[in-house]
Symmetry: C2
């Protein structure tokens, strides 16, 4: 088909000295990251959460939107938003990260969405659990994968497609998986999947299918593009690889002091400084965060906040103006009394540091309860996926004046 040759090109790695191309820049201008100072907010204000949109944001009418559940089920279901809103309502605070986070820092650099280390965000997603719906439809005994289809349509490496991604049945049946219609207490925004999206806590963003139109149960592994071709960890182009699934542990430093506009190098006044940040993992709870101020030569333990995020609308006044601080109170309960599940949200950490005049490279690394430790050297693969290299925050502490 001529479209293939005309608009799509094969995946490739950048040459050693090749700067970021205009194509990569065009993706970066659309799909933005979390400004790192926004790590200060327990819940990321609307508009600061990272975005990765493969094609165009579709224009969907929430009044006419219908979700179809079909395939290897006893009975197909068709549900509009009103029907979904009548079902049990749950809110979960979930940290999402793009599977390609860190890609632009790899060498050689896979040419795709050029993330540095900011493709993350935490939101409160409200919707109805998926599992009861699948049980209502009645999963066939031969069900293997559940395929989620979005309304976003485009071409990728020559394949014209609606965005589709499959989940193994046991993952789709996890109680935490939501069909979400609200984010931070308001209807989903167009760019976050309005009017309906999937939320799969613990998994990288590619699993959280937006603009959800259809859920199909298959009696085989889904071999569509995003499962079989795109989101796979491969050593080279011929390696079949393994699918990208859960989020590897990562910690980020909220850069202290203030920045230079262009270099983003930080200036920090000498003296005591609380270095803060967030850490998360999709495999298991974060159990340890270590901090370096010398680019990884030495490490010190940070203090983890004991029970997940605590300061809600109080200390972070600006966050209140972003979402809706009334959705949940400071105790993590919804006004109606139901608890917001925060198990899948990032965890705040702090490290007390005395900044003496000089130059420093700050970073942090996370360990989770599964024993995974964030590596200092980036784990390279051809797509630049699940790359949880340690961030580098350059800080200059001038002489006191």
């Amino acid at each position: 088909m001529s479209i293939v040759d005309d608009v799509s090109r094969p995946s490739r790695l950048a040459e050693p000295d090749e700067g970021i191309s205009i194509e990569e820049l065009a993706l970066a201008a659309r799909n933005h990251g979390l400004p790192l100072e926004a790590l200060r907010y327990d819940v990321t204000p609307v508009g600061l959460h990272y975005l990765l949109i493969h094609y165009d944001i579709p224009a969907l009418d929430p009044e006419r939107h219908v979700l179809t559940i079909d395939g290897r089920v006893d009975r197909s279901l068709r549900l509009d938003l009103a029907a979904l809103r009548e079902r049990p309502r749950v809110t979960r605070r979930v940290t999402l990260e793009c599977a390609g986070n860190g890609r632009a820092l790899l060498s050689p650099r896979p040419v795709s969405q050029p993330w540095l280390s900011e493709a993350v965000g935490t939101a409160e997603w409200t919707g109805t659990p998926l599992a009861p719906l699948l049980r209502e439809a009645g999963l066939g005994p031969d069900a293997v994968d559940v395929v989620f289809t979005g309304a976003d349509h485009g071409v990728e490496r020559g394949i014209e497609q609606d965005y589709q991604r499959g989940l193994p049945v046991p993952e789709a049946l996890r109680e935490e998986v939501l069909l979400a219609y609200e984010m931070n207490g308001a209807p989903l925004l167009p760019q976050h999947g309005a009017p309906l999206r999937l939320v799969v806590p613990g998994w990288y963003g590619m699993a959280h299918v937006k603009w959800l139109t259809r859920i199909s149960v298959l009696d085989r592994e889904f071999d569509g593009y995003q499962n079989a071709v795109a989101y796979r960890v491969r050593t080279d182009a011929d390696d079949p690889g393994v699918p990208v699934t859960r989020i590897e542990p990562r910690a980020l430093v909220q850069p202290p002091g203030f920045p230079d506009f262009m270099s983003r190098i930080r200036v920090l006044r000498p003296g005591p400084c609380t270095v803060e940040g967030r850490a998360w993992s999709g495999h298991a709870p974060v159990t340890r965060v270590e901090v370096t101020t010398d680019g990884g030569a030495s490490w010190s333990d940070a203090t983890l906040d004991p029970t997940g995020p605590v300061d809600r609308a109080g200390a972070t006044g600006s966050a209140g103006s972003a979402g809706d601080p009334s959705v949940t109170g400071p105790d993590g309960r919804e006004p109606g009394g139901s608890t917001v599940d925060e198990r899948w949200a990032w965890r705040r950490w702090r490290y007390e540091w005395t900044a003496n005049p000089g130059r420093y490279t700050l970073g942090a690394r996370a360990t989770d309860a599964s024993g995974r430790v964030q590596p200092v050297d980036p784990p390279w693969n051809r797509g630049g996926f699940a790359n949880n290299l340690v961030q580098r925050v350059e800080v200059v502490v001038p002489e006191d004046q």
Copy 2:
């Protein structure tokens, strides 16, 4: 001062074959543009409006925020948000554009925030007019410039500063200039200047100072960094140049069809197609939009929407879920009855096209009532400011299948 040498470097132009640097990419990952399909919304949904933040988003407490008005005035004023909210309330629909829009497409390329053509957005800003406040403070007879100071703090080309930008007194006294505390019917988001910002309809974004803390009246031209050094149109580094002020006319095409993920080239089915887009100017109303499908070799007139944006919350269902469609009704009136001023908002245009199989380069150019015509060749200057070159949208129309 050591900070200067350590964190800031002089402005420069990229070498002819130099790709986008990691520093430029870091700015692009923070400061995102409007995804061009979002040109479909009369009012840009929250989170899709372009952002340009020089330093960090500051953390301000709206409850404690105070605006000071001082300098060459008869009496200084100190107003908190409650006091500002008690004053007359006005909503204006205003298109904002970054002065650096288009910079990354220039040759040679000024190294700074690397915009392509998407640094634009339209919001409904609600606040209180500035002029009555200045009159209440009493402008001295020797007043020349009014300086607006934000709470965002950083270093730029070696100069540590709070972001400050001055306006000539006659501009500051224009009835349209607002101190805004709401955007699209909700309190300002942190990244848009919460809790208070300036809105100067018709001017590029650098004038709309965010996180506003102080308004000072000077008896001379303001010679601070953002007026005297940064935002100036210069032919070379030694040229003192002229300040960047109002938005030059520009039209953008909402890309038709659907995209390839990586190249963003569009695929469009053959047949009739309404090519749509928006056009704006900060000098005078847009009076004409011309469309090209052959990269500028020939032009045809588009049809302008007769009276500014018309379809509000109705046709663009998703826009309703983003902002608050109840703020103003479809007739452009607020619930209380006051009219939303749309004179400073972009204008929709349409062009009926029959797409035959082939390759096309679409673009559009605007003319305004002041006689300014958008140039096909980019008007180069050393900072890459006010560069309203014509956009290029690559479209492939495959053979019908």
